[in-house]
């Protein structure tokens, strides 16, 4: 019954409850953001389900261990994405360049003679996104897949809005070109 009442709370109010020691608030927050953050990590970390699980766990453990680190005057969603973006940034640094290069070696038009089904299209789209640089991919995923606004992305990454817009424009152009080229084949 108390959980139902908590579901009406805003994210920031739930964090305040969690700081006070109400464990049920965490459950509600996880239900709201757990799958979303898992998908974000999955998309950002080359569709690696194991990594996505580890990173989601690490992210929510930060909330469990130090809920006080959240400033209730800030937007919770932006704060959570900032933590997640930093985790991804560290992973990109740790990842060996050869491992990243392997991702780029995929031929865009391989299996083009096969039936154009959804699976193949998704594969091509993923490749097109993975071929973007880390900065462009991050902006692209946050905007077009996570549906964050430009201002929110600027707050998450810590860049001016103009830079974000420029990155988004370039990234969308690149991905669209890949998709168009693939579709015309």
């Amino acid at each position: 019954m108390f959980k139902k009442a908590l579901e009406q709370y805003s994210d920031e109010a739930l964090m305040r409850e969690l700081i006070k020691g109400k464990q049920q608030a965490f459950g509600v927050l996880y239900d709201r953001y757990g799958p979303r953050m898992y998908r974000y990590f999955y998309r950002m970390l080359w569709q690696d389900a194991g990594k996505a699980e580890d990173f989601t766990q690490e992210l929510f453990l930060k909330i469990i261990e130090k809920p006080q680190s959240f400033d209730p005057s800030r937007n919770f969603c932006t704060w959570l994405y900032t933590l997640a973006a930093n985790l991804c940034k560290n992973e990109y640094r740790r990842k060996k360049p050869c491992e990243l290069a392997e991702l780029d070696q995929g031929v865009l038009f391989e299996n083009f003679s096969e039936k154009m089904d959804q699976h193949l299209f998704d594969q091509q789209l993923r490749r097109a996104i993975d071929q973007l640089s880390a900065n462009h991919r991050q902006c692209f995923i946050l905007r077009y897949q996570e549906e964050q606004s430009v201002a929110e992305i600027a707050a998450i990454i810590g860049c001016p809005e103009g830079t974000i817009k420029s990155r988004l424009h370039y990234a969308l152009q690149q991905v669209s070109q890949h998709l168009e080229a693939w579709k015309t084949h």
Partner: protein, 172 residues
């Protein structure tokens, strides 16, 4: 491209745009381009949308929260974060108490003086020179005087052994 048009393309089909919006779009791109952009954005958004985290992840995190809560009550009390004002108040109290202690009268402790006397013995040895004068009367015998008189230049002890008696007598 205008961000506004991009926003529309994310959520609205061409037919969902009103006339003003359509006019703004047409000023920048064709209807076909807009429709393609809308389709791409829909496909991008739908990509991996069905991916879900494993169910045990939630249970694991909730379990971790319960453990954390338990530890927080017992073992981790020293790790608890203290508000800034409390920390500042504690420091101020410490400084004031130090100041108060230093201001209070120091306890006077009377020194206990113990006098110990000892005897010093100085010994001075004085040496005095004493001149001992020995006086002895030597009587002249006739022979030796006669010999001296006979030899005014002197005579050796080899030639006159009786002279030796003069010396030996003096020693005695």
């Amino acid at each position: 491209m205008d961000t506004k048009i991009e926003d529309w393309a994310m959520y609205k089909d061409w037919s969902a745009l009103n006339r003003t919006e359509q006019a703004q779009v047409l000023a920048q791109m064709s209807q076909g381009d807009y429709q393609r952009l809308h389709q791409h954005l829909q496909e991008i958004k739908a990509l991996d949308e069905a991916v879900q985290p494993p169910a045990q992840l939630r249970a694991r995190l909730v379990g971790q929260l319960a453990v954390q809560e338990k530890m927080g009550r017992t073992q981790l009390w020293w790790k608890r974060q203290v508000p800034l004002w409390q920390a500042a108040a504690a420091i101020l109290l410490g400084v004031l108490s130090t100041f108060w202690i230093s201001k209070s009268e120091p306890k006077v402790i009377a020194p206990t003086v113990v006098q110990v006397r000892d005897t010093l013995l100085r010994e001075k040895i004085v040496w005095r020179e004493r001149i001992v004068q020995k006086t002895r009367v030597v009587y002249r015998d006739r022979d030796s005087i006669q010999l001296i008189l006979n030899n005014p230049k002197g005579v050796s002890l080899e030639d006159a052994p009786e002279l030796l008696g003069l010396f030996t007598q003096a020693e005695k």
